[in-house]
Symmetry: C2
Subunit: 428 residues, 2 copies
């Protein structure tokens, strides 16, 4: 991509509601555009990051046998009435022109359960963990929130990965739940999220017995988390107390004092049990020919919120830091001046593109400082800077700027393609 063709808005004029560094970076770097309150357009730049996040989520879920599918954004209200959830506050209801009561789905337990009951007949269709039946989708959700905040952190419309598993026993549910708990940590690791912990969570509207949240520990978080100073106990405040207690609490496991932290919830998992399967009359025939109700788990990752969190953990509002897997472009080529540097830059661009690498190139007449500032906003981990001064010395400058380290090297200009490819291979 030629940087001058990338149709995004880089702006210094930030709205008053952009208070976090990630929200500022999202707007300043042109990753998103606010179409309405809590409603965002992902620019061609932002959409690349979103797709890269989705790819990692898919790969890890597919690896444990989850099956991707796609359910409608709009559904009949009747499905929600079956479980008694038709009055939850974020559920947007409307009547269609054909006179049908419908909703824009904020989550899909009812919809997936309706799908499963249309198919499920025998216990043989619910294999034991780890090959349990688990269906998932990555899809737009709408929650009719009273307040949106912090850009991608709390939107009305957002991208979510939601998975649903079905089992013949609580043991199987529990086994599979733990598999997914580990898969989630692997996903956040691969995404380059620095500080995500799993904590005990309340079950709330969802029903069920056990739940964990995945929290990115961050000052901008809305949630209060307690972690034990001694043992491995970690929990959402709501698990520990019904009151709005502001005091430091004592660990219910070992009695030692708890640390109080703030966090952004980037995922949650629930052992739902039979709340949905029972009220929606899902049944299978067991080994003895007896009708049984399956138990269910559900597993969410806020894909667009993860994007927001990656921007929050970037260096500051002027510098995006992604790992190679998530970065919208892997290499950013900058040439200074019009002569040989530009020719070499274009040759490198053509060669890397042919090799299947996603590259952005800046051979514009902009000042060098402005080019570097744009490269910081775009966040390609590898930058190749080709200037007349360095060409004279027979080298170009290679900078790596990733999540955990930064370094720069001068590489022989005769070795420009191989030199960059070597760094790509090393850092991937």
């Amino acid at each position: 991509m030629q940087i001058e063709n990338l149709f995004i808005k880089r702006t210094k004029e930030l709205p008053a509601d952009a208070t976090t560094s990630g929200h500022k970076l999202a707007l300043k770097g042109g990753y998103i555009h606010q179409t309405g309150a809590g409603l965002y357009t992902y620019s061609p730049l932002g959409f690349k990051v979103l797709q890269n996040i989705e790819k990692i989520v898919r790969e890890e879920l597919d690896a444990v046998g989850c099956q991707e599918m796609n359910m409608p954004v709009v559904s009949p209200l009747s499905l929600w009435k079956e479980t008694g959830r038709e009055s939850i506050d974020v559920l947007l209801k409307f009547k269609t022109r054909a006179g049908i009561d419908a909703v824009v789905n904020p989550t899909h337990e009812e919809i997936v359960t309706d799908y499963v009951r249309s198919i499920l007949q025998s216990y043989k269709q619910l294999p034991q963990s780890p090959n349990s039946l688990c269906l998932y989708q990555i899809q737009t959700k709408y929650r009719d929130e009273l307040r949106a905040r912090a850009g991608l952190i709390r939107c009305r419309e957002f991208m979510m990965k939601d998975a649903y598993s079905f089992h013949t026993s609580w043991d199987d549910l529990n086994n599979f739940y733990n598999i997914i708990l580990n898969v989630y940590h692997k996903i956040y690791d691969r995404l380059g999220m620095k500080n995500v912990i799993d904590i005990l969570a309340p079950t709330g509207d969802m029903g069920g017995k056990i739940s964990h949240e995945f929290q990115m520990v961050s000052e901008i978080g809305e949630d209060t988390i307690y972690t034990c100073s001694e043992c491995d106990y970690r929990a959402n405040k709501e698990v520990l107390t019904d009151k709005d207690a502001d005091d430091i609490l004592v660990c219910p496991k070992c009695g030692k004092p708890l640390n109080k932290l703030r966090g952004v919830e980037v995922g949650n998992i629930f052992q739902l049990g039979d709340k949905y399967t029972k009220s929606m009359s899902v049944a299978y025939t067991d080994e003895n020919g007896k009708k049984q109700i399956p138990v269910m788990g559900c597993y969410g990752i806020g894909v667009s919120r993860v994007f927001g969190c990656l921007l929050e953990q970037s260096e500051d509002e002027s510098k995006a830091v992604f790992n190679m897997a998530v970065a919208p472009y892997k290499v950013h080529i900058i040439s200074i001046g019009d002569g040989e540097a530009k020719v070499l830059a274009e040759k490198l661009y053509a060669d890397l593109t042919s090799a299947g690498i996603e590259v952005i190139i800046d051979t514009t007449d902009d000042r060098a400082g402005s080019k570097f500032a744009n490269a910081d906003l775009i966040g390609a981990p590898i930058r190749a800077i080709i200037s007349p001064k360095n060409i004279e010395k027979g080298v170009f400058e290679m900078k790596y700027s990733g999540l955990l380290k930064e370094y720069s090297e001068q590489i022989s200009i005769n070795n420009i393609f191989d030199g960059v490819m070597e760094i790509i291979k090393k850092e991937q």
Copy 2:
């Protein structure tokens, strides 16, 4: 994928509204599940087809420099008021809990125009065709239709690729429009759609001057198309007459009689001009420092309708026929009996999967006839059938069943992996 793990419903009990062979095949083969009237869930099998269609659409649009992005499904009604389209019948309107008038978008002209006006300043950002600015997305749309019909052919919610281009002149718009017209034919070709023609179309609600529809000629189509018996004139009935004339008309170009056909619209393209850019106050500064209004084109492909059309053009309601690029699985392995055939099948499955081929395997105890019937419903073009009888003869049976041809071969069992790979390479 082991066929017994694929969580879909194959059913013989079809609803009364499933009247076309494609709609029947979609349900019988378990590609979709009806969540509500005109609201479908794509099963793990159906979603694979949908993704394969999307991949081809993406590749061809990216190849001509279009930039993928993503706009919200829900938007403020205020954007629709700017163009006076707030009263079109399929527009679903609602009030949010926060008191904002909002819509579920049936199309995104207003939304993309709002994005573009937030960025566009100079003519330099609108390069001449073929490098024109064109933004697109593949996304869920909702149209509040009074009647849904024929499964994926006319849904309320559907998957659409919508692209929008912006230009400094009608000439550039026209050039780019013709590029996209050719890209569309390439897309339909690659998808294996047999009988798609472009015809002159009315501009209708969209405004603008010139429009073409891409119609799959089919008896199940809702649209009436006229094609000239002599020259290349082809048009939608609505272009030719305002009356509900049932008579054969005469070609307006050469005066010869017209043929009357039925078609399903699988794409449409419009030269919109300044209808949206003018009413929404989009402006750029030209070479002379003068403010100008850009002209605009828009380009849609009904991705889920294309899926429906591919099922319609399949052999019948019991046999899906896809090309290699679109098929949910490329190879379907069937073993008969429990002994060596099963072992060889599993070995072939492991080897093909390692080679990155999407394979489905049936080593179940089902009757051979039932296995073949399921393979017909799934529509993998290549089938490898391994039976004790053929093993005795030192061979296995390889069947290819694609869009344009069918053939079968007996290949040496010693050569099983290479034999299948050779067919894959030949037919890809």
